[in-house]
């Protein structure tokens, strides 16, 4: 991330458009003005706008369609680090029926631990959720999530019976930056019970914190049985 000054034309226009998308001013599906129009608006040549849009497309913020224009894409919370992390898709690609169940749901004031997890400073209200994702009957992953109600107040009343909290959030909060932490831990008694594994079993834990322009959105901790899940990534020199 480069926050430094020295905004070239690219960068100014890029930040501007990125801002409109990220803030939700241009919602997913919104058609971005045509290159020619943008060029006129910003008073630059089309190639400059093209560079910006191409970059935004590479970053996954916009989708470009010939003949019809460029559109804001649905947010895709996933870095190259975790190319696969749509749990529903993961499960379905295994040929298993995907199910989830919210086991616990609680609204409360943020504790000190919550504040560390969520990167909040004041003691806002938070929503705590515990969700189990299953592939067929077998537990696939446990999701412990904290949602910052100061940023996403609607979460307090949301219905998570048809849509998982993660999915719901993606549709609610426009765009976010994220941080991932991956580690291996031994399952404690509670987790082992939920995942139906031996206590002490090695589990892969992926923690994700996300921020919207408004502030910290959510902290999610996914725990996978180590022997049932791997993270794969490939890369080539010039990508």
């Amino acid at each position: 991330m480069k926050t430094g000054k020295d905004p070239t034309l690219h960068q100014r226009i890029l930040r501007d458009i990125e801002g409109r998308i990220v803030s939700g001013e241009w919602a997913p599906g919104h058609r971005i003005p045509f290159e020619i129009d943008l060029a006129a608006q910003y008073g630059v040549s089309r190639m400059t706008v093209n560079k910006v849009l191409t970059q935004l497309a590479k970053a996954g913020l916009v989708e470009r369609r010939k003949r019809s224009g460029s559109f804001v894409r649905q947010p895709q919370i996933q870095s190259a680090v975790l190319e696969i992390h749509d749990i529903r898709k993961e499960v379905e690609q295994l040929g298993q029926p995907y199910r989830f169940a919210v086991e616990r749901r609680q609204v409360r004031k943020a504790t000190g631990a919550d504040m560390r997890r969520l990167d909040v400073t004041r003691d806002d209200r938070v929503l705590e959720l515990l969700t189990i994702h299953r592939a067929g009957a077998t537990p696939f992953c446990v999701e412990a999530r904290l949602i910052n109600l100061a940023v996403v107040p609607a979460a307090a009343e949301a219905d998570f019976s048809a849509m998982s909290p993660g999915q719901w959030l993606i549709e609610q909060v426009p765009w976010t930056s994220a941080e991932h932490v991956v580690q291996a831990v031994s399952a404690d008694a509670a987790t082992a019970g939920l995942l139906d594994v031996e206590r002490g079993c090695a589990c892969l834990v992926i923690e994700r914190r996300t921020w919207s322009p408004t502030g910290p959105v959510t902290h999610a901790r996914f725990t996978y049985p180590g022997d049932r899940h791997t993270l794969v990534a490939r890369f080539t020199p010039s990508s």
Copy 2:
């Protein structure tokens, strides 16, 4: 990775230059011809080569210096997935003295298991290495590595007392593509002994396979005590 046809000018020039770097024809430190010269050689405008070099710079293959030119960079085997994975650096950033020791070293014909690990088809000769990396006195990571001697014959006689096998390989093999697999496993007896942890302790295992244009180079399996190591990655929408 896009291997499809339809080579635009960009892509053809990009692949060409990438090929020279990756094959070692242009070794690390080599000064790439100036943009104007490249433009003349390829019979294109300077902006086109600029685009290519900019892209190669973003990919980390070349470093651009104003006034002096563009240079081939030392290979940096790391995807965005594993932004940090120079063990020496990791340890030193902890403020600990870094040490390593090759515990086992053996040249042999590839077994069936080796062939799966290394992606070789014939039963070439391979070099098997077991290395322990330490932060001060405490074990930091166990590295089990297989090197394909058909691609890197010099490895058979290499001296791994001053330079770790991983470091040595980076300096030998020009550029590679790589695949990373991350998972959590319980330490078996042998690993537990080497890492000085309880048997069954959750460990983070990172496997990396790399290929050079010549063929599969190496397979390395790094095992970290789960409570002493995490993988972190951040990302923002437009990067």
